[in-house]
Amino acid sequence: MTVIIGCGNLLRSDDGVGPMLIRRLWELGVPPGVRLADGGTAGMDVAFQIGDAKELILVDACQSGAAPGTVFELPGEEVETPPLENVNLHNFRWDHAIAMGRWLLKSRFPKKVTVFLIEAENLSPGFGLSSAVEEAKERLAQELLRRVGGKEIEA
């Protein structure tokens, strides 16, 4: 079982790309054995949504200063999780979710973890993605489908 979790706030423009990507994957259809989850701004529940998955793919928006729409891929072994004692349950991010998931699930935590971050252009209150991020969402949706063995569909 692979679980793909999209995080972010739909009310903050490009920050909503995670949940929107999940919706797009759902429309396109994923093969059996792949579970989709809209993590939204749920914080700790992102960790609960990992469930019994063997592989975890997390998608979130980021603001690193790169060109908007840039997609970063962070392999699990490169992902440093912060010390749990400093996790602030309000300011919960994908890295905290991984740390929380490791603590909650212990040996059942997925062996493989991949994090995709999409560079945001606009994080102001409002709906909808900027064109660069919309395009990155499509690209990543296709890429994820290819990786999990689903059929590719013309965007």
Partner: protein
């Protein structure tokens, strides 16, 4: 804020950190070790009302559950009732039952998660190391390593599994729609939900929280009953609830954080037959957990028409107090607005009590439980005298506020079980409504942390005005045009702070209200402006 150059007087600043949600600063002035004044300052503009203007009337069902990462179901509940009343829909009994269940299981989830992952962590603070119970408190409640911390956090995920069975997902579901719910549960959905609920009771609620059956706990009708319950059995004393009460009284949580002593509940959960045709006027008479206002002496019927939002001290154009249907949200540049003496983005919700006038009121579990003590309930409504007795006997405090929250967990468990049994799988869950192009609606519920309500005006098939009043606004709102402080501002005053370099007492108050904000306390020496302390008040809530 003016730095006060008085000896032994210092100012603490509770500063915020939030990312996608409202931020909060609480400034506190301490004199001779006691808080003498407080100001709550929301530093971020919350623009949901502006986002909704001009949108499809049903946009509130999508937008408002995203206001918050933990109360999404509560937002959905009140926004759907706002539309039901605006459109004059018919809501079949099954849909009311499922809405009740969804609202209640979200709160069932919130209570253990809030207690273990937020509130109880503060109780392990080294300030209390000399308490004889300290070692046990740390063993159970220390974050990530405490034995009951892990159990409580894990089990907190169970109740919302029931939400997901009916609502597709939790949080951020939009499965409640005008005229009902979009779900078609089967018998196995219902039996699975009952099994999850029983698992939750057996493996946490009774085993760890109460140390007794839910029925035994609910026999407690007075503070004296609770004291007798503690003495009755070792299991009671040693339960998390028993330990919490004993420890609180030892470290003084029962001595501060009283708040305004006046309360408001918007009420929640509808009788399935009595709210088939939801109206604003018919709402009070259909509520299982009743609405109401308690002014410290007398009870008053709740009337949404008496609610005002005062923005005299808020970063919005002009001043005065308006009903939400007349609400204006014209934000100002905080730097400019501060010159007029304004200090926050939060408005100050007030209730115009007959004969008293606009009054700041506390909302939340304690408020609900005080309102539940009003006599004259129908036999199907919640009547519970416990917390009216408790505040009369020992007065409100941070301990009492926490106790009210834990008490509700027991009551909600029983209600959900009953509602699950009442679902008639052969009957309707939805009746298609007429989407009227004009109308006004009001929908309200009780999120875990208090009264939550929407007002919607629809014109030409679009949202003309949308106003949300959250429990956090009620509790963290600022002063008003009459100079009255908001509830948390009031609750801070009089608090003894043992160590101004680490004012954990203020964190207990803020966390006791569970206002949905992240705060950091910066303590500055009034004379030297040297930063003395930095203290984070974390909260898992996201934005209501």
């Amino acid at each position: 804020m003016n730095k006060t150059e008085v000896k032994n007087k210092m100012e603490l600043k509770v500063h915020s950190l939030g990312r996608v949600e409202g931020d909060l600063d609480v400034k506190v002035v301490i004199e001779d070790g006691v808080v003498v004044d407080a100001w709550t300052e929301a530093t971020m503009f919350r623009g949901f009302e502006l986002i909704l203007k001009g949108k499809d009337p049903q946009a509130g069902l999508i937008v408002t559950p995203r206001i918050c990462g933990i109360c999404g179901g509560s937002h959905l509940t009140k926004s759907v009732y706002a539309l039901d009343t605006a459109w004059g829909t018919e809501v079949p009994p099954n849909a009311t039952l499922i809405r009740n269940i969804a609202q209640a299981v979200e709160t069932l989830q919130s209570v253990p998660r809030w207690f273990y992952a937020l509130f109880a962590i503060g109780l392990t603070h080294q300030n209390y190391a000399s308490s004889p119970l300290y070692e046990e408190v740390v063993r159970r409640w220390a974050p990530f390593t405490g034995e009951h911390y892990e159990i409580g956090v894990m089990l907190s995920a169970k109740p919302v599994e029931i939400y997901a069975i009916f609502g597709g997902q939790w949080p951020h579901s939009s499965f409640m729609v005008p005229g009902g719910v979009v779900s078609a549960p089967t018998l196995s959905d219902v039996t699975r939900s009952i099994a999850i609920l029983e698992y939750f009771r057996e493996n946490w609620l009774e085993k760890y929280m109460l140390g007794c059956s839910v029925e035994r706990w609910l026999e407690n009708k007075t503070w004296a009953d609770i004291m007798a319950w503690l003495e009755e059995k070792r299991e009671h004393r040693d339960s998390d609830l028993g330990l919490f009460i004993r420890y609180s009284m030892e470290i003084g949580l029962d001595k501060y954080g009283a708040g305004p002593g006046r309360y408001l509940a918007a009420g929640s959960f509808f009788h399935p037959q009595k709210y088939r045709f939801p109206t604003i006027e018919g709402r009070n008479a259909a509520l299982i957990s009743r609405s109401g206002v308690y002014d410290g002496k007398d009870y008053h019927d709740f009337d949404q028409a008496r609610i005002r939002e005062d923005h005299t001290y808020s970063f919005y154009r002009g001043g005065g107090a308006f009903h939400p249907f007349e609400g204006v949200t014209e934000p100002l540049d905080p730097m400019e607005a501060k010159k007029e003496g304004k200090y926050t983005f939060a408005k100050a919700p007030r209730y115009d009590i007959p004969g008293i006038g606009e009054t700041p009121l506390e909302v939340g579990p304690l408020a609900r439980q005080v309102i539940a003590g009003r006599t004259g309930a129908e036999d199907w409504q919640d009547y519970d005298p416990l917390f009216l007795n408790v505040i009369n006997e020992i007065g409100p405090s941070t301990m009492v506020r926490v106790l009210a929250r834990l008490h509700e967990e027991v009551k909600y468990y029983l209600r959900v079980k009953e509602w699950l049994r009442q679902i008639d799988l052969n009957e309707k869950f939805y009746v298609k409504p007429n989407e009227l192009p004009e109308g006004r609606g009001f929908g309200a519920t009780e999120a875990a942390r208090g009264a939550l309500a929407d007002w919607i005006s629809i014109k030409d098939g679009k949202i003309e005005n949308y106003q949300v009043i959250t429990p956090t606004a009620w509790n963290i709102g600022p002063r008003d045009r009459h100079g009255q402080r908001g509830p948390i501002e009031t609750a801070m005053i009089g608090t003894p702070v043992k160590n101004p370099e680490d004012p954990v007492e203020l964190a207990h108050i803020a966390q006791g209200y569970d206002s949905c904000l992240v705060c950091t306390v910066h303590a500055y020496d009034a004379k030297t402006h040297k930063e003395l302390a930095k203290y984070e008040v974390t909260n898992m809530m996201a934005g209501i």
